[in-house]
């Protein structure tokens, strides 16, 4: 299929998400407003009020209820979407596990924001990084265009019959959510065709019949009841199996989408940038990778062999792809926009060092905690990180494995 003719719109990240949801033929949206996510549901409620969509919009009393409504809607076979940030995601914590455990393919936009206290409405990744173990797929985007593209892809990934796992799409609060960008949008009918309608695998019900996996009074079944030491473990193993096949499905959907949109983000899991001959690399997620790319271009023009590895998919962790992408790099700086207090660095650092332990060659790997609570991370700071890596290679020594950057010290 040829790349479709597209319409360029001026949208901020939140509006781009709302627009993608509008085009994705969503049955149920249940949400509660929280900065910096509010624009998403605000815009979407306008689409509902103006009759542009036939979605059931449920105004709930909390995020706990928002996700519960989406999970139950999805269990009946509906396509469901919600969006939240920070404290809202924290309040959903319990239901995140219930949603994935019930294999309800809900899609949720997380507009990444710091957690209190002290109260802060600006970006960091503390809210979603802490939820990395809840069996949701996590995709982090670099810009609003990718937010639009990823939401559309997310429905198709989540609802894949082999997978049936919920998907979070993380976009940086304010940096993306409130910044106007040119966003290329696909025609409505094409997006609708791309996401398609939900299909259901057959499962054996309590009546011993093979029935489609959804709640339907005509073909009754029970989803997610009590499950003690005799079967709980087996059900968790099934979720891990779904995560194991997820990279294949994410890449496949990403590739199909590239065919109609002409846009690619690496292979959908990772996006290597000038890594082929790089001696030093930064690994990061989210919008900061845009800043890093600018610095890479600058340093490359002066002949320094630097590169970037952007993790687009953080869950499932693309282990093989990370190993391969970093195999010839000699020094790696992992940037974390969240901190595991007392845990020797941030989540991304933990995982990258962990993956590289099994690699044939072991580069130096250091960690920079940056941008907490929306602290700006300028190109100067990125340059400093590359200078630090240069020094590590010259001295063959790591002074501090975990550092803070952009902090007044």
């Amino acid at each position: 299929m040829a790349v479709a003719k597209q319409k360029m719109l001026a949208l901020n990240g939140d509006e781009a998400v709302a627009y993608a949801v509008k085009q994705s033929d969503v049955d149920v949206v249940a949400a509660y407003p929280i900065t910096p996510q509010t624009i998403i549901v605000e815009r979407f409620s306008e689409y509902v009020a103006d009759g542009e969509v036939d979605t059931e919009f449920v105004c709930v009393e909390s995020e706990h209820s928002a996700l519960t409504a989406c999970l139950t809607a999805a269990a009946t076979g509906a396509r469901a979407f919600t969006a939240t940030a920070s404290a809202g995601l924290a309040l959903m914590h319990e239901i995140l596990y219930v949603t994935s455990g019930c294999r309800a393919p809900v899609v949720m936009a997380i507009v990444n924001r710091a957690l209190s206290a002290p109260l802060n409405i600006h970006c960091d990744h503390s809210d979603s990084m802490v939820e990395r173990d809840c069996s949701w797929i996590q995709i982090y985007v670099e810009n609003s265009q990718e937010a639009y593209d990823s939401i559309i892809q997310a429905f198709k990934i989540a609802e894949n019959q082999e997978l049936l796992l919920p998907v979070m799409v993380g976009l940086d609060g304010f940096t993306l959510s409130h910044t106007l960008e040119n966003v290329q949008t696909l025609p409505d009918d094409l997006v609708k065709k791309f996401v398609g309608t939900r299909k259901f695998p057959l499962v054996t019900s309590h009546e011993g019949k093979n029935v489609p996996f959804k709640l339907d009074p005509k073909k009754p079944m029970t989803i997610g009841p009590i499950d003690l030491y005799d079967y709980y473990f087996e059900h968790k193993r099934q979720q891990e199996e779904a995560m194991q096949i997820a990279p294949k499905i994410i890449q496949q959907v990403h590739k199909e989408y590239a065919k109609i949109s002409g846009r690619r983000y690496g292979n959908g899991l990772i996006e290597p940038y000038h890594l082929e001959d790089a001696e030093m690399a930064i690994v990061c997620v989210g919008s900061t990778s845009g800043t890093v790319k600018t610095v890479v271009n600058e340093l490359r023009s002066k002949g320094t062999k630097v590169g970037l590895l952007r993790l687009r998919t953080f869950r499932p962790l693309p282990v093989k792809e990370i190993t391969k992408a970093l195999e010839n790099v000699k020094a790696v700086a992992v940037m974390d926009r969240s901190l595991s207090f007392g845990g020797h660095g941030g989540a991304v650092f933990h995982e990258i060092r962990h993956v590289l332990y099994d690699a044939s060659k072991h580069p130096y790997v250091v960690n920079y905690i940056y941008g907490l609570g929306g602290r700006d991370t300028s190109p100067n700071l990125i340059q400093k990180i590359y200078r630090d890596l240069q020094r590590i290679l010259e001295t063959q020594q790591i002074e501090k494995p975990v550092q803070f950057i952009g902090l007044r010290e």
Binding site: R103, V203, I223, D230, H235, Q238
Partner: protein, 95 residues
């Protein structure tokens, strides 16, 4: 708890029940068991109505009630509600 041996690849996902709940015999959870005094019991069937597990049945042919110990968890609500104190909860292992 009924012993099962299916491996993770054989069971439906998301905890979908592949057999009816009547096949899960929950009666073996009990510590106490209701013992009825047939002399005191007036067959008012309040215990049938109150039993949260539906484990007490009215048998019209016998004009009497019957406990289903496969599902009675021994909660004691029947004994508590009985207006004539005809039900006593005794340690299950001693009955």
């Amino acid at each position: 708890m009924t012993t099962q041996e299916k491996v993770w690849k054989e069971i439906p996902m998301a905890g979908v029940c592949w057999k009816p709940s009547t096949q899960y015999l929950t009666g073996d959870w009990k510590t106490y068991k209701p013992i009825r005094d047939l002399e005191k019991c007036t067959r008012c069937v309040l215990c049938v109505l109150f039993c949260p597990d539906g484990a007490i049945h009215w048998k019209p042919e016998k004009e009497d009630i019957e406990f289903d110990f496969n599902f009675c968890k021994g909660c004691g609500i029947c004994a508590n509600e009985c207006p004539v104190d005809a039900i006593e909860m005794k340690l299950a292992e001693e009955t």
